[in-house]
Symmetry: C2
Subunit: 336 residues, 2 copies
DNA sequence: GGTGGGCGTCGAAGCGCTTCGATGGAGGAA
DNA sequence: TTCCTCCATCGAAGCGCTTCGACGCCCACC
């Protein structure tokens, strides 16, 4: 193994000079740096990660905790993870993969052993048990999602309230006057992933603002429930022409159910959804939708961590603006 | 930060004794170990990963390179990754995530900086450019998949030949006499992921052994191709009653196409496939299939690496036996 | 011409751990 | 009793790097 002393000897300087040439933490003359760099290339020198971590108390590794719970869309998690790795590399960091399964103990372990400098935690719940831990650790972290009480923590997520609003605004813009939200299963609102509630808030706010008649329906995620929901919606709001769906598994069956009831999408009924793009595109009638911007979320999370590691302060909360992709499921009211 | 000298002082022993009590590399009296362990708990001691890595030249971290190419089924990759992490943790190791994108440079970097002790490489191609690199690095690795020339490397994968055979044997056992294989796109066979060819070999061998009439059809993965393929199959083999599909995107459309042509599955035509379980289950007629055992592959790969790190020798090639899951798409020939 | 101040470089200490050789004491064999 | 062995423990060296204080040199300024 070639070490820093070898490089130093080869370049005719001291080891500390090599170190400074590499890190730039002290001025080194242009000429010397050239010589050092040449020696490094020639000898194929690579600093030993462990030695570096020990001496500098920086490992240049981030931890990423990925969720395993069912109901989480796997491709989105993957997209996020890849984006985190890619962005971390741009900042000369690597990524250690932890599973939710290992839980708090895993986080504590990698933090306390100084294996990682900072961590990213996905799938945060309102009353997430990891909150006190993250607060107590001496390393910075970023959470994907918002807990109920985020004091002293840094969070980032899609702005689900704005997403709900955006869906409604789009429908309103197309002339629809009576709209409904088909939401997530009731237990989701209870159990506490905040985003579901935020969608409802946004939906309601935008509907009121536009003076639309509106209703909200939490729904089981079982495809079998679709027919009943569709029927109920039409019974309660016979003039319904716009629907927002925030319930992935129900999306496709719901479209089918509406058509069974004689409503054509989008001619008679416009549908928007908050769901991954792939799902929106794979439905028979491609759905106008707002997607979770997983890649952007990942890279923004890393950027936040890097700033924190640099000792800069960052906003406690970051909300990403939703973007709506127009597809075939929306049309002006009373279109042919 | 509490360090080993703190523990030593607290327990009234020397630092080396603490180290030995922890690693078990030298005998320590029961009484002393108890005392050391108590001190560790009381002080909340955690050995510094960097220091440990530096002194022992073992980082206890594995690298996992995940593929990004399209056409790779994301949930399977995820399953694999989770299994690797879980198994690595059981062996007191962590997992560093690398993307294919970083390529050879990434592997070389983490190996040369001693950031990882060993690595797992997924999605290996016949002429994978990483082969010479893996051979030249001083750290052990395991590859998922078989390249053309695997000398000196350790590989593991599903036994695709046996998988092809198993599908045919099942059909033969049900009395089918005329079978066809709908394979992957032609370029896959050319470009060189060995497994596609292995399936063909297994299919053909088993068909011959059972004296079945058989044919092989590489197919585009576009759903639109299904109708043409189905028609062609029936034209060329009018007595066809058994089909093996090794082409994920084509599976569902193909079933539809056969039914369009008046063949009921499984009454008139039995279908088996090599594909992820979720896909097999999501088709209208659930498909009897052989799945890629991602979780087992992951944990076996880690076990192999651990053995290599212990200096033990392991087999160059490990083939996992396929398992066929019976579903609704197969029936005895001439069943009602 | 003397002096103060950078700039560029060096030397040494030390990060926290593992490991090797040494050591002391207990126990068994002669 | 004496000597040898073996077990449990200790002390010190060193893993490869970063970092801090020190130092010499050159230039500018008076």
């Amino acid at each position: 193994m070639v070490k820093i002393t070898d490089v130093a000897r080869h370049a005719g300087v001291s080891p500390s000079t090599v170190s400074y040439a590499l890190s730039g933490k002290r001025p080194i003359s242009e000429e010397t740096r050239q010589r050092v760099e040449a020696s490094i290339r020639e000898l194929g020198y690579r600093p030993h990660a462990g030695a570096r971590a020990l001496a500098s108390s920086r490992s240049n590794v981030l931890a990423l905790v990925i969720p395993l719970r069912t109901g989480i869309h796997v491709p989105v998690v993957m997209q996020f993870a890849v984006s985190v790795v890619t962005t971390a590399r741009r900042h000369d960091h690597d990524v250690l993969l932890l599973t939710q399964e290992e839980g708090e103990e895993g986080l504590r372990r990698v933090a306390d052993t100084a294996l990682v400098d900072a961590m990213i935690v996905m799938d945060v719940q309102l009353d997430d048990p990891r909150l006190p831990l993250l607060r107590s650790l001496d390393r910075p972290s970023v959470m994907i999602g918002f807990p109920a009480e985020a004091d002293g923590l840094t969070c980032i997520d899609l702005d689900f309230k704005a997403a709900g609003e955006l869906c409604v605004e789009r429908l309103a813009g197309l002339g629809h006057r009576v709209v409904a939200l088909v939401g997530s299963p009731p237990e989701v609102y209870v159990r506490g992933t905040a985003f579901a509630q935020r969608v409802v808030q946004g939906f309601t706010a935008a509907a009121d603002r536009n003076r639309l008649a509106s209703s909200v329906h939490p729904c089981e995620a079982a495809p079998g429930a679709a027919a009943a929901v569709a029927e109920q919606l039409l019974r309660e709001q016979p003039a319904l022409t716009g629907v927002v769906v925030h319930n992935e598994p129900l999306l496709e069956p719901l479209i089918d159910a509406f058509e069974q009831l004689g409503l054509r999408v989008p001619a008679d009924l416009s549908v928007t959804a908050i769901c991954p793009d792939e799902l929106a595109e794979s439905v028979r009638v491609p759905i106008t939708s707002v997607a979770l911007p997983a890649a952007e979320l990942g890279s923004r999370a890393v950027e936040l961590l890097m700033k924190k590691l640099d000792g800069k302060t960052v906003p406690d909360a970051t909300l990403l603006a939703p973007r709506l992709t127009e597809r075939a499921s929306t049309a002006p009211r009373n279109a042919p």
